[in-house]
């Protein structure tokens, strides 16, 4: 996944060097342009056990701004918005690693630097007692929940910065 360039975003945004948990780094340019979740849709994707995307639906491409070819084989974290606290994802992996379902509100980063909120459910795909990958299904959250989690994540980010 390449660094984002000013030409990738429709208007000037905030540029940061973002370091992912596995040591990978890239430049992210993000804006305050929100894309709202379309009524009645679900974003669906599957990853392997390492978190690499192996399948996704059209709604995922539409909402993220990436084509299917650009998404397949990428780490799911390319959608991670810098406003999201690391603790949320730690909790996600700890939960699904135990074979349990994880639910949470997530602010995702689009290819063009904008963002979209989802209510995500991540579940392990268990076959013959073994985890063979993960499925993530995202649906439309309410504005009240978005507001609540926006505030909560700001506080968590401040805590993490200390």
């Amino acid at each position: 996944m390449k660094d984002m360039l000013p030409s990738d975003v429709p208007r000037p945004g905030t540029s940061i060097r973002h370091k992912y948990f596995d040591g990978f780094e890239r430049t992210i340019i993000y804006t305050d342009i929100e894309t709202s979740f379309p009524e009645g849709n679900l974003i669906v994707s599957r990853t392997d056990t390492k978190g690499k995307i192996i399948a996704c639906n059209k709604a995922f491409c539409d909402m993220s701004g990436f084509s299917k070819d650009e998404l397949i084989g990428q780490e799911h974290y390319i959608l991670r918005h810098p406003d999201m606290p690391a603790a949320a994802f730690k909790d996600l992996w700890a939960t699904v690693g135990k074979g349990k379902h994880w639910h949470g509100y997530v602010k995702n980063l689009r290819k063009d630097g904008g963002y979209y909120w989802v209510y995500a459910t991540v579940i392990p795909n268990i076959r013959d007692g073994k985890i063979i990958g993960y499925s993530s299904i995202r649906r439309k959250p309410s504005r009240a929940k978005i507001h609540e989690h926006n505030e909560l994540y700001k506080k968590m980010k401040l805590q993490e910065a200390k």
């Binding site: 679900l42 709604a59 379902h101 579940i123 076959r127 499925s135 929940k145």
Partner: protein, 250 residues
């Protein structure tokens, strides 16, 4: 002894005789005796599933989970280009124009159809509605839901899209969809139980040819189906995982 075939009770009553045509076609093309039994409600059908009487079933996506993961049913085929979508409908004159207009204590008329209910409940989440702040009435048919809406005893009604489309023009004129799901990945599936698993390949071979056989084609068309696509076990497993994520939050 004849194999036992049943169909998820979410089909429109208009199609009862069409399913008997499908069964006749299957018997003729498989050279096997198959007894078709249709149920009016999900509970009666689940009872015979628990009693391990079912050998072949056209299952809704929700019940597929129990059939595959609890009773060891195997995937055979799915209806071509036919997915299960839900419609939340209101009356034509309803003040609700979008989901976010709905308020706590909204009166919902729904059926026991588990996947439609589940899909529709997730579509009202953007209004912060759930089973705890709505008034839910369960009806035994989609027609009763339409009556609840038209009679003013419900604010919104949950329909299987294909069943909504089958409502008469007179009824549909008085209603309008508030929102329609566009999931595209949830569908019915033909599944075989233990006793019929040895016949799975033969059954699949027959089904892929059904749409090119004049009698088969006509039976399919009566059910608004274009044909069958063979289904891998993993396809059903994935759909079950997907349904699992939609189970209502506590």
């Amino acid at each position: 002894m004849a194999f036992f075939f049943t169909v998820s009770p979410d089909f429109s009553p208009l199609h009862i005789s069409d399913w008997f045509l499908v069964n006749t076609w299957l018997q003729r093309n498989l050279g096997e005796q198959i007894h078709l039994e249709l149920f009016d409600d999900f509970e009666s059908q689940r009872k015979v599933i628990e009693e391990k009487k079912v050998d072949l079933i056209y299952s809704n996506p929700y019940d597929a989970a129990t059939l595959v993961r609890k009773h060891g049913f195997k995937a055979v085929a799915r209806p071509r280009e036919l997915t299960d979508e839900a419609i939340i409908a209101v009356t034509e004159s309803s003040p609700f124009k979008r989901v976010e207009d709905l308020k706590p204590q909204t009166r919902i008329s729904t059926t026991e159809d588990p996947n439609v209910h589940m899909m529709a409940m997730i579509m009202i989440e953007p209004a912060d509605l759930s089973k705890v702040n709505t008034v839910i009435t369960v009806r035994d048919s989609y027609m009763r839901i339409a009556q609840d809406l038209i009679g003013g005893t419900a604010d919104i009604g949950f329909f299987l899209k294909s069943t909504y489309d089958d409502l008469s023009d007179l009824v549909k004129k008085q209603l309008r969809p508030l929102v329609t799901s566009q999931i595209y990945m949830v569908h019915h599936a033909l599944l075989v139980g233990n006793k019929m698993i040895p016949l799975k390949e033969k059954l699949q071979n027959a089904l892929v040819k059904m749409s090119s056989d004049p009698e088969g084609k006509s039976a399919l068309e009566a059910l608004c189906m274009k044909g069958w696509d063979l289904l891998e076990q993993e396809d059903v497993e994935f759909m079950i995982d997907l349904m699992d994520t939609l189970v209502e939050k506590e």
